[in-house]
Amino acid sequence: MSEILDLTAAAAGAAVRSGELGASELFEFYRQRAQDDQLNAFTWVAEATPGEAAIDGPLSGVPLAVKDLFCTKGIVSQSGSRILEGFRPPYSATVVEQLENAGAPLFAKTNQDEFAMGSSNENSAFGPVFNPWDVTRVPGGSSGGSAAAVAAGSAPWALGTDTGGSIRQPASFCGIVGLKPTYGAVSRYGMIAFASSLDQAGVLTRDVTDAALLLSEMVGRDPRDSTSLEYPGSLVLPTGRDLSGIRLGVPEELTEGVEGIEPGVRAVFDDALRTAESMGATVETCRLPHAPHALSAYYLIAPAEASANLSRYDGVRFGLRVEGDGDLKEMYERTRSAGFGPEVKRRIMLGTYALSSGYYDAYYGRAQRVRTKIAEDFNTAFESFDFIVTPTSPSVAFKLGARTADPLAMYLSDYFTVPMSLAGIPAISIPAGLSEGLPVGLQIAGPAFSEQRILEAAYALEGAFAFDASGARRSGSK
């Protein structure tokens, strides 16, 4: 069985196509691994193996885990929240349908921060997820279950969502690849919403090739999501060997004098830049003058949108209801107070405050203008650079409980990932090395719809880094 564990998703698919490996055997292998998971990475695991008909397609039957917040028809989907207790959606998210049709059958759903609000996966109604590199540490968040599952080899690949870093940061903490596509590249239909102008589905995979393969079946316009876009061209498996002629920009504002950037992270990042140079890239400092304000804008815009999106949880149509002996309003308040966890309440409060009469212009209005400046900064930078590179997060995976008492410290974990989210541009995190035995991710961001070029560069670098993640894969399951 250890042979299956060593296969990337693309390699497992190839083995199925050539007949060396049965699709049912592959599904059962991962179903069992997920069932035996010790990291609390899963919220649901399939009870049976699907028939062979379900696994016909370009993804060759390689089973897929998806973050809890993707609606899955008839399968409990709670977005990590108690307020959606027992909710079985009457439909599946478009991406889940697309991938099932492409031959990646759903085999498990993964734990996450409640409504994708968090950077440590400690805000889940299902309890925290543990990092397979060190179970006393967080896996990152909010797609922490997906990242831990892939890193631990209990899922061949997984879907996550990224609003301010929720794919890239856990990928970095768990030593795997995570890609957030261009906003609009992938349908949001059937994703339980957090902040609609930022939310984007993406992939968490063992390597860059797997990321390209999975993403290639996800992009495109969906009539059910009016903000989705026709993807220009199609994505193919990367073959990049070097970085000759590639201009990498290192944003001064995100790397110089940043409070809280760990020396070990900085060292891995600097090594990665030297490697890139040795492969033909040029590395120069660039400017993103408004990037230091991205986190502030984000923590106004995202909570504001969340406070509106989460108003639908009122105990009427689905999920939890807590009734008193009072009227409708009391039922709303009791349901919401019992159903939402502390971080979700905090963000609803922040968002409601930012949108409330008298504060709208000072907070939400200003934040939207900062967003414009941040997008302009990137546009200017991309006139001179192919990609912007940063560490994915200022730190390695931190200890469970280390930041739960200080929301601001938790939010700073997304300092390098939030600017790209506000600009709606694609970015990947790939493991670049270790600091104190824990993975450090390199973030590569490019202009809108530059996914193929990002994947080519990431693939070339991945070959040079030769990051070994096999240790974590052996520790995550019984």
Partner: protein, 94 residues
Amino acid sequence: MIDRDAVLHVAALARLELNSEEVERMAAELSAVLGHIEKISELDLEGVEPTSRVVELENVLRPDIPQPSLPVEVALAQAPAVSGGGFSVPGSGA
């Protein structure tokens, strides 16, 4: 910066019932977060257009063709309480 009364006002708007301990904690935490966020007030944003979403799309329409929607029993299946083919809720009070 955010006092107890402000927390209670916003909680009422958000339909959240907070106990007194939550109110105290929320006041402190929101003040700390807003204190950090305040930095954006230093920026000169005169004449800058707001961005509500990065994708420039206008009036995305679909053909006006009737399509089946969820059957009533499916739409009601997840509701905590139903009656007479609809969602059932407590009275709205006086």
